[in-house]
């Protein structure tokens, strides 16, 4: 188990009800974190439409997460 700080933005934050929380997760990638917190941020959005950063650096969904990392979950941006 790793202690991961998760930060939610925009619609994710509103649904989670918090901007940030620390969870103890059995996660090896950013994707694992997304899926394991899906109920909290309430998204059925495919990850392909969202973005992720680890410790303030843009990352891939396959990027590894380590104990103590902060994972930032970004819903789709306004775009057009």
């Amino acid at each position: 188990m790793k202690t991961i700080t998760i930060r939610y933005f925009a619609v994710f934050r509103e649904h989670a009800g918090v901007g940030e929380e620390s969870l103890s997760l059995d996660a090896s990638t950013a994707m694992d974190v997304y899926h394991q917190t899906q109920e909290r941020h309430g998204s059925k959005e495919p990850v392909g439409h969202c973005k992720v950063a680890i410790n303030d650096v843009m990352a891939d969904w396959s990027s590894a997460v380590d104990d103590g990392d902060t994972v930032l979950l970004f819903p789709p941006v306004a775009g057009g």
């Binding site: 619609v11 998204s43 059925k44 941006v77």
Partner: protein, 126 residues
Amino acid sequence: MFEGWVRNQNDGREVERLEYEVYEPLAIIEGEKVLDEAQQRFPHINAVCVHRSGLLDIGECAVWVGVSAAHRDEAFKACRFIIDEIKTRLPIWKKEHYVDGDSGWVNCERCANVNHRHTDPGKQGN
């Protein structure tokens, strides 16, 4: 030069004001990357961009991109490149507050529906 203004309607709904949520640390880094990439593609330009954050009223300028170049073809292409990249890559989210009291995050129609009476805001453009 491109300016994005807050419009009073979107997709047929009356918009009262807009709220931009910007995650500044990464928005600034990504914004600088976009300008660097524009500079590499169009070596003879000078470019700047500004994006607002927080609550904006109708008629306010939300985003501004300025490009100068000796030749207008390069200026047009670079300006277009920058605004398109900014709109899709930067961690900036737009929430519309409607006149009827409803509100919704733009382009999140497939995301969680967390808003009371929130209906599909549909495809956006600016």
